[in-house]
């Protein structure tokens, strides 16, 4: 992991709060979420379902669907607060400055259009193409970057496997060289071998284009392999955010620890660790720390006061009253 102290932030998320108006009192799906994404880094946003990771990502793109709405906060990309953009400006801004790799690539591509045409349309809709020749060259370049053979351009989506379609989506997202790409569980529907291939194309675009990426996921293994920093979310809040190697070696938050421990290993047989309780009920959160009911280390203060995200070490932040201090394994 390179030194991030000098890198500039391409995206600053500040106090982002998302409400879902499903009942009289709104469900807070993202609660005062703040983080930066630095140039060329991959930030993982990890958590169980309902933790607010996808909500946060969609809010960053302003693609939330009703009943979800942004109740507060700002998302600054390249100095522009995306929350303040008018609809027309937003459309223009989106693909050029912040792009999305959607979850199920199978549904994201137009089934009656050749890959080449879809890529060309995606480019032409937002940028000056610079002539047919340049466009063709760019498409070839993009396909090569995600590791697809050049003749894929002549094919229709149904002629491609799931992994190849997902990689076409990756190519489409980076077509305009945006400074930031959001990848929403880009490999969740894929088999493990194909996942490896798609992951490789993500690594490739990061290395060659230096695009910063927010990777949404639930698989700690994938996070360990693909990200530079990880933000762990729970009940709409960021619980811990730290560089990946530090987070996995010495997690501060008991929830992070639990997430890492719950990944079954293929190398070492260990007794199953059963964790009590389930994900939180967003409509009925406990008054203090949302993780308190499940937390093995909870003390009295956890029940009454919600811990704020604070620095607990170099570049490592945790929202916990009793963070792990046992750091002798570093």
């Amino acid at each position: 992991m390179s030194n991030r102290t000098t890198a500039a932030a391409v995206c600053e998320v500040r106090n982002l709060t998302v409400h879902y108006d499903v009942s009289a009192t709104p469900v807070v799906a993202a609660n005062e979420v703040s983080f930066d994404v630095y140039e060329g880094e991959t930030l993982g946003l990890v958590g169980e379902s309902g933790c607010g990771k996808s909500t946060t990502a969609m809010a960053m793109l302003r693609l939330l669907q009703t009943p979800g709405r942004v109740a507060g906060g700002s998302v600054n990309i390249a100095g522009v607060d995306i929350m303040r953009l008018r609809p027309a400006a937003l459309r223009d801004f989106r693909w050029r400055n912040i792009a999305l790799i959607p979850q199920g690539a199978m549904n994201a591509l137009n089934p009656v259009m050749r890959i080449e045409k879809q890529l060309a349309d995606a480019i032409a809709a937002h940028a000056d193409t610079g002539g047919r020749q340049a466009l063709r060259a760019r498409i070839g370049e993009l396909l090569e970057m995600v590791g697809l053979p050049a003749d894929v351009r002549r094919l229709y989506p149904h002629e491609l496997s799931g992994g190849m379609k997902q990689r076409v989506c990756v190519a489409m997202a980076v077509a305009l060289n945006p400074p930031l790409v959001i990848a929403d569980e880009p490999t969740s529907a894929l088999d493990v071998v194909v996942q490896r291939l798609v992951a490789q194309s993500l690594i490739r675009i990061k290395e060659t284009l230096g695009i910063a990426m927010v990777l949404i996921g639930h698989d700690m293994g994938l996070m360990a392999q693909l990200t530079d920093r990880v933000a762990v979310m729970y009940a709409g809040r960021i619980m811990e955010i730290a560089p990946t190697d530090i987070l996995f070696k010495a997690p501060l938050h008991p929830y992070t620890q639990q997430l890492i421990d719950s990944v079954p290993s293929i190398r070492v047989k260990k007794p199953l660790r059963v964790f009590p309780g389930g994900p939180p009920d967003l409509r009925n959160l406990p008054p203090g720390c949302p993780f308190e009911p499940r937390c093995p280390k909870a003390i009295t203060i956890c029940r009454g006061e919600t811990p704020a995200l604070k620095a607990c070490g170099e570049k490592q932040y945790a929202a916990c009253h009793v963070p792990n201090t046992n750091r002798n394994n570093i």
């Binding site: 879902y20 469900v27 379902s49 909500t55 669907q65 994900p279 009920d281 409509r283």
Partner: protein, 310 residues
């Protein structure tokens, strides 16, 4: 665009979904209200109005409704004894509507009910069993759908000398089942792959048990929607036949009233109430049934619901 999925993964019970309140669907309520108003009109009418006035030559001829001027010379002014006027055979329009409306509804309901019962049985058998049974049923129902039903009905009803409400309904039912068969078959095809059908199999349930206990309850909203649509379709078909003079001649229906109005040159003579009132009544019934049908459709197919919560 995946939002927080509040219904599937979370380990806390999801909030009451919009579906729980879906019976409060506005269209459903409006449609039901319209139909209730029609039924109330018929019921109250039978109680408080002399329905024998619907017989020929029971009142003065050609009276316009109260509050309207006569359309020309030769018409007498309106009388308060006949608030909706009378027609050329001396029948009171109000009494005609009160007696004709339930008859028209009944024809539609008989035809639709038979169509739905037959269609459900065939559709479920075809959808669940598949194979050659499915092929035979599908081909038969598709073949019947392509037959121009009105033409056949005209031929049949012109051969049948005396038609009453029941035989009219039966006649229409001949062509009411294939549509229902198709709808139900398609639904069963999708439902039979559901996990709970496999679960019932694992629990040792037989095929008829699965069809009746597991699938049928889930088909009820579809059946209701298909039924309402079919009722209005059959009322329309009945009205068409009757307007050609091929309906029951002994009992008044809305369609027969239109037929007499046509024969009596009501339009030329400016007697708008003669043809206009039964058509108005039919329109109210159709709109009511239509609203109920699309309301039910939204209920079973949440994607159609406004708000896009699905």
């Amino acid at each position: 665009m995946k939002e927080v999925d509040l219904s599937i993964h979370q380990d806390t019970p999801p909030p009451r979904r919009p579906r729980d309140y879906a019976w409060l669907n506005g269209k459903l309520i409006a449609g039901a209200a319209l139909l209730l108003a029609v039924l109330l009109f018929v019921l109250l009418g039978r109680l408080f109005w002399d329905v024998t006035l619907a017989r020929v030559a029971s009142c003065p001829l050609n009276l316009p409704p109260v509050g309207f001027d006569a359309p020309g010379p030769g018409f007498e002014p309106s009388q308060s004894a006949h608030p909706l006027g009378t027609e050329s055979s001396g029948r009171d329009m109000l009494a005609l509507l009160i007696t004709g409306t339930p008859n028209s509804l009944l024809i539609g309901i008989i035809a639709a009910a038979i169509g739905i019962v037959v269609g459900t049985m065939l559709g479920m058998t075809a959808g669940f069993l598949g194979g050659w049974v499915d092929a035979v049923i599908r081909i038969c129902s598709d073949a019947v759908i392509t037959i121009p039903s009105l033409a056949v009905l005209i031929v049949i009803s012109s051969y049948v000398s005396e038609i009453d409400i029941k035989s009219m309904g039966l006649l229409l039912a001949l062509f009411a089942w294939p549509g229902a068969t198709r709808v139900i078959r398609a639904q069963v095809l999708s439902l039979r792959e559901r996990g709970y059908v496999q679960m019932a199999r694992l629990s040792g349930a037989s095929t008829p048990e699965i069809l009746i206990c597991e699938l049928l309850p889930n088909l009820l909203p579809f059946l209701a929607a298909t039924f309402t649509a079919s009722v209005s379709g059959n009322i329309l078909a009945a009205t068409g036949l009757e307007a050609l003079g091929l309906g029951p001649s002994r009992v008044p229906t809305l369609g027969m009233t239109i037929f007499y109005a046509i024969r009596g040159a009501a339009i030329l003579r400016g007697m708008w109430w003669w043809w206009g009132l039964p058509i108005l009544m039919l329109m109210i019934i159709f709109i009511g049934l239509f609203l109920i049908a699309i309301g039910l459709d939204e209920l079973v197919n949440p994607r159609l619901r406004s708000g896009g919560d699905a």
